[in-house]
């Protein structure tokens, strides 16, 4: 059958456009201009007395800075550990919770969700206390529980341990949101599928691997994309706890962007750095979509 003309297709889809209209309008008003402005700013040397066009110079400076590459490496490493481990843990916990009685489910759901109600700033402060070399909880527990075998660790003061400490903090935070999401998605899988599989002789493992996991792909994709976007832009914990130190060991790209924009007031260079990061995130997301994005419908 010959394809309809563009105009006809647009008209046929008018309801679709209506449904996306609020989101698109909001985007055009509140996102389009700032993004366009950022692109423009990335090509100028910013100064309130007058911006001067310097073409790709901001990009050159940013890419020539060893600190930028270090920050990028840190950010990538952080993401590559935190996202898969976080999703894995959430999946594991959800699989454990799901078969339980509803009252138990609710209890654990609540237990894993509750830590998320504390604001990121306060969480950082609490962990700052936990990591404190002299007075922190961890350095108190470690020697006490191992009978003095383990010495206090300089969690945030050692350049090799600082970033892993922050990763630990991110992963150990309970993963409540992801658990809730997985449980909601698991609830949507029809029991008929499991019954049919059991009739065919599947055991629990097979059920999990062949039915549950694949059907959770949309949720996993969502968590992977959102987790990646979030981890690539990690900032609050760095700002509150280490300021990028010691010696750039925990410096992340967004922290450098913050410093460049708000402490040095070099908005042009910061915009260039932001766009470089955005391109990388887009690239990674596209790959994730390819791998995890197959349509699932049942």
């Amino acid at each position: 059958m010959r394809r309809d003309s563009l105009a006809k297709r647009v008209f046929k889809s008018r309801w679709a456009y209506l449904f996306v209209a609020p989101a698109v309008i909001h985007f055009l008003v509140f996102s389009a201009y700032p993004i366009a402005a950022t692109v423009y700013l990335s090509f100028v040397r910013f100064n309130l007395q007058g911006n001067s066009w310097i073409g790709l110079r901001n990009y050159q400076i940013a890419l020539a800075e060893p600190v930028f590459w270090r920050s990028l490496a840190n950010t990538a490493l952080y993401t590559m550990v935190v996202v898969p481990v976080g999703i894995g843990i959430a999946l594991f916990l959800s699989a454990l919770i799901f078969p339980l009685r509803p009252s138990a489910q609710n209890f654990y759901k609540g237990a894993f969700y509750l830590p998320g109600v504390i604001s990121a700033v306060v969480v950082s402060m609490i962990w700052l206390w936990m990591f404190d070399s002299a007075h922190g909880l961890l350095n108190y527990m470690l020697p006490t529980m191992t009978g003095g075998v383990m010495k206090p660790i300089s969690w945030l003061g050692d350049a090799h341990i600082a970033l892993p400490s922050l990763m630990f903090m991110a992963v150990a935070g309970g993963g409540g949101g992801a658990v809730i999401l997985y449980l909601a998605a698991m609830g949507g899988i029809p029991a008929t599928l499991y019954e049919a599989a059991r009739i065919d002789g599947a055991n629990r493992w097979t059920e999990f691997w062949r039915i549950t996991l694949p059907l959770l792909k949309p949720t996993t994709l969502y968590l992977a994309i959102m987790g990646t976007i979030g981890s690539f832009q990690v900032f609050t914990s760095i700002y509150m706890m280490t300021r990028g130190g010691p010696n750039y060991a925990t410096s992340t790209v967004v922290y450098r962007i913050y410093e460049t924009a708000f402490e040095f007031l070099k908005l042009g260079r910061a915009s260039a750095m932001a766009l470089i990061l955005a391109l990388i995130i887009v690239g990674v997301s596209i790959v994730q979509f390819k791998v995890l994005g197959t349509e699932v419908e049942y």
Partner: protein, 286 residues
Amino acid sequence: MASHSHTPKLPHSHTLRWPIILAYVVLTLWAIWALLPLFWMLTTSLKETRAAIKFPPEWLPSHPTLMNYERLFARAPALRWFANSAIVAIAHTFSMLLFCSMAGYAFAKKEFPGKTAIFWGLLSTMMIPGMVLLVPLFLLVSRMGLINNFGGLILPGMVGAFGVFLMKQFIQTLPGELIDAAKIDGASEVGVYSRVILPLSKPALAVLGIFSFMGAWNDFLWPLLITQSKNMRTLAVGLATLQQESMTDYGLLMAGSAVAAIPMIIVFFAFQKHFLKGLTIGAIKG
């Protein structure tokens, strides 16, 4: 379609006892670990600052005091801040639930020219670090006259790409036959949306609602930048104004956090009760 798990998916058989027990053990240990910071926050809110940073740390306050809570409510229009946060969070949640489900439905179940481009356009807004977008956004918002009022607090965040994405992923999994069946029964486009898609998306809506509410409630940076008068501040920002010197007032900070956490706990349990339990949907395929 399935009923939500009132009945366990697996038969109870004695050979499965020990995995269940193991599950409980693991979950309980992990829950204790996860709740540790919350517990610490609550107990610290009942301590004086010097007790808060004592070493070795004391698990339960030796001299519990309500002093921090008193200071919180005495010195500040905390009630007003609370109300502001509530208004902003509720409005934000409502608009997110409505507009994200609309857009998510369209992306999940409809085909239209430009679909991929529009979707990636929306998604890309999340991928540019908000830090640099702040300046032009602030400039724009100030030109629109939205500084220091509810408009400025609510409008810029009304639709979030992450919500659209979430709803799309979930609605995608709903069988297309349901929509066809409804249309055959004579339902309009709006009818399909409100009577088929929305009810079936309740779990996702509940999750989105919880996330949106939490995000708006705890948002610190944007409300800080956009509010200028004491009465317009949200709770998160108002609490920060009580920190005076460079040294952290731990007791007060934790008390403020505790107070701020209560509505979110209420919201969580409210949403959970309504949407995640006892959902029965008539099956199509029998």
